[in-house]
């Protein structure tokens, strides 16, 4: 007799549908709120390291939204690349800028007169996009996405795939050229 940790198919179909639908909505609202609130915290925190920690939370929230959209591969890559790599990169960058670390930096902008029209313009475009976009009302069935992505990379999007490696190569060369300069004025 196997000892089963769990099994599916517990409800009659109608009941289960209602349950997961509301649960999905609640989880979306929770994740969206977390993402939004921590994004606000990123730009309002006085301490830059605290901002960074909230940025991690924002990245996690975005990964959560990908999961709710059944994009499991994308969610994993979001965590792997953004939290595992980009955040560590920013933390190392903080180490290089000694002035920012200990000081409490005010995040108010002196150039708000220029910034305001630009952000308002972007806001108008975004609102228009949200209103005009025909949102698909039916969710696609959840399923493994990694295989589909792999097949399309190998067939339909072959050129973008190979170009991506060139872009990465350019990134390596650029990074080395940039960081080589930093090495000369190394204090430690």
């Amino acid at each position: 007799m196997p000892f089963d940790l769990h099994s599916i198919n517990l409800f009659d179909m109608g009941k289960q549908f209602v349950f997961t639908l509301t649960l999905q909505k609640i989880s979306f609202l929770a994740v969206a709120f977390m993402t939004f609130a921590s994004a606000v915290a990123v730009v309002t925190m006085k301490n830059i390291f605290h901002s960074l920690l909230f940025l991690v939370l924002t990245f996690l929230g975005v990964a959560g939204i990908y999961l709710l959209l059944s994009a499991d591969f994308l969610a994993a890559v979001q965590v792997l690349v953004y939290i595992g790599a980009i955040t560590v990169l920013i933390m190392f960058a903080l180490m290089l800028t000694s002035k920012l670390m200990a000081k409490r930096v005010s995040q108010t902008m002196e150039q708000w007169i220029v910034a305001l029209p630009v952000t308002l313009g972007i806001l108008v475009v975004l609102i228009r996009l949200v209103v005009l976009n025909p949102w698909g009302m039916k969710a696609a069935p959840a399923g493994p996405t990694t295989g589909i992505i792999g097949t399309s990379l190998m067939t339909k999007y072959l050129l973008p795939f190979e170009l991506a490696s060139i872009v990465l190569l350019v990134a390596v060369v650029g990074a080395i050229l940039l960081a080589k300069e930093d090495k000369s004025d190394d204090p430690s």
Binding site: F73, V77, M95, A102, A142, L168, A171, V172, V173, A179
Partner: protein
């Protein structure tokens, strides 16, 4: 099934709840004394610390993080390919898919070789 991902959220919640609970239990049962004298000083082998620890650090760490980002993105490309290689073979495209990835990896190895040549991979 949505349950697939519900478990991830559940594990995260229970993990956080467990850590917070243990810290709380410890807060209840442990003695609390006022921090007096040098007890609250950072531990630097008995010496009084001079200045803050939040100061400029070695730049050498930064270049490794940059290289890491690039290779992490590469990994994100390799996984879908690894997943479908067998499928591609049964579709008769095995050799094609293989050489596609070899070109991809070769281009990145050029980047690694460049970094090596420039002495970036040397820790000093």
């Amino acid at each position: 099934m949505q349950n697939n991902y519900a478990y991830i959220a559940l594990f995260a919640t229970i993990g956080v709840a467990f850590t917070v609970a243990t810290m709380w239990v410890s807060w209840v049962v442990r003695p609390t004394h006022k921090r007096t004298g040098s007890k609250a000083e950072p531990y630097e082998c008995g010496e009084l610390p001079i200045g803050n620890a939040w100061r400029q650090f070695k730049a050498g760490y930064y270049i490794f993080a940059l290289l890491f980002v690039v290779f992490d993105v590469e990994v994100a490309f390799i996984f879908p390919w690894a997943r479908v290689l067998r499928d591609m073979k049964s579709a008769g495209l095995g050799l094609f898919a293989f050489f596609e990835m070899m070109v991809f990896i070769a281009i990145l190895l050029v980047g690694l070789a460049y970094a090596w040549r420039k002495g970036v991979l040397k820790w000093d």
